[in-house]
């Protein structure tokens, strides 16, 4: 495997978000279905609207660094998603971008640190902890797995694959949790037995990353 595939160029970041936008569009109904079980039935619609706006800006050549692109993505989601995913994913991308100042290419170490900055932003914004049945329950184990793979000498592809597996497991584990944040928290015990929509879309984002960032 060539070293080149272990660094991420700006065009791959664009591919990543394009892939995620397509995935969200295809799965919008499913995401909304998850959200109608325990939320206000708008996660799919909201994320689709937000990601369509993001897809439209990906060809803007003036967004010519990872930092500029990711921060613009964050601000776009803030203004188009509408629900909690707006400030949450918005903060995620803003912090993610801010953690890559002056970079034109991103390696596995950079990516891990920047994703973690994004997760810290989500936690700060939503005040959720692991176990609250939120997107954090996918991100936290995913980033631990990513970092673990890198520490063990794995390349970018191995780290992303490990992250996806851990995110999916975290997502599936949300089914057994009682919601402690968001509209689902009003349901209390009745939220048990349903997977969290935010953990689902977060896992999709990581799956898109694994598909596109090492290509």
């Amino acid at each position: 495997m060539s070293v080149a595939s272990d660094t991420i160029a700006l065009e791959q970041l664009r591919s990543w978000l394009r892939d995620f936008a397509a995935e969200v569009a295809e799965q919008a109904e499913y995401l909304t279905e998850l959200d109608s079980a325990i939320g206000d039935a708008d996660h799919g619609t909201n994320m689709d609207r937000g990601m369509k706006a993001v897809a439209a800006l990906l060809d803007d050549a003036s967004l010519d660094t990872p930092e500029a692109l990711l921060k613009k993505i964050g601000m776009t989601l803030v203004s188009t998603v509408g629900g909690a995913s707006g400030p949450l994913y918005g903060t995620f991308f803003l912090r993610f971008g801010t953690a890559l100042p002056g970079k034109t290419e991103v390696d596995a170490g950079d990516l891990g640190a920047a994703l973690r900055a994004g997760l810290d932003g989500v936690v700060q914004r939503g005040k959720a902890e692991v176990g609250d049945k939120t997107m954090v329950d996918a991100w936290a184990p995913a980033l631990d797995a990513f970092d673990g793979a890198v520490t063990q000498g794995g390349g970018l592809a191995a780290a992303l694959d490990a992250a996806v597996v851990a995110a999916a497991r975290g997502r599936d584990g949300t089914a057994d949790l009682v919601a402690r944040k968001g509209r689902a928290s009003y349901l209390g015990d009745r939220s048990v037995g349903h997977i969290d929509p935010g953990a689902t879309s977060s896992t999709m984002l990581l799956e898109s990353a694994a598909r596109t960032l090492t290509a």
Binding site: V78, S79, G82, G86, P87, R125
Partner: protein
Amino acid sequence: MIGIVVVSHSRALAEAAVRLAREMVSSDGGPSIRTAAGLDATTLGTDAAAVADAIGAVDSPDGVLVLMDLGSAVMSAEMALELIGPEVAARVRLSAAPLVEGLVAAAVMASAGVDLDTVTREAEQALGAKEHHLARH
């Protein structure tokens, strides 16, 4: 005079609440009140950038009180504080006051020139009159 921002998922709700509050204040003068509500006239949701713009629009050295409905409105308002910069953010208060009762109380007090911290505190007690009347205090 302090400025007031109303953050709600619903533009119609926010505008109606502001109309109600203005009824309680003399027709000349009264505080600057802006809404940051809905993604458009009918789409529900909040937008931190719009909240930041609204704060900027009503900002003055006397500061700004921000009232919110629930859930992501609060996160959007908190995010707006990061977008406006620390100098302005230092004179903004996000209040846990009930939206309608707090807005009415705040508008009346703001008109009387009451300072930001006092208005914030009083708005957060705005359910008191209702509770007292219903003898649930």
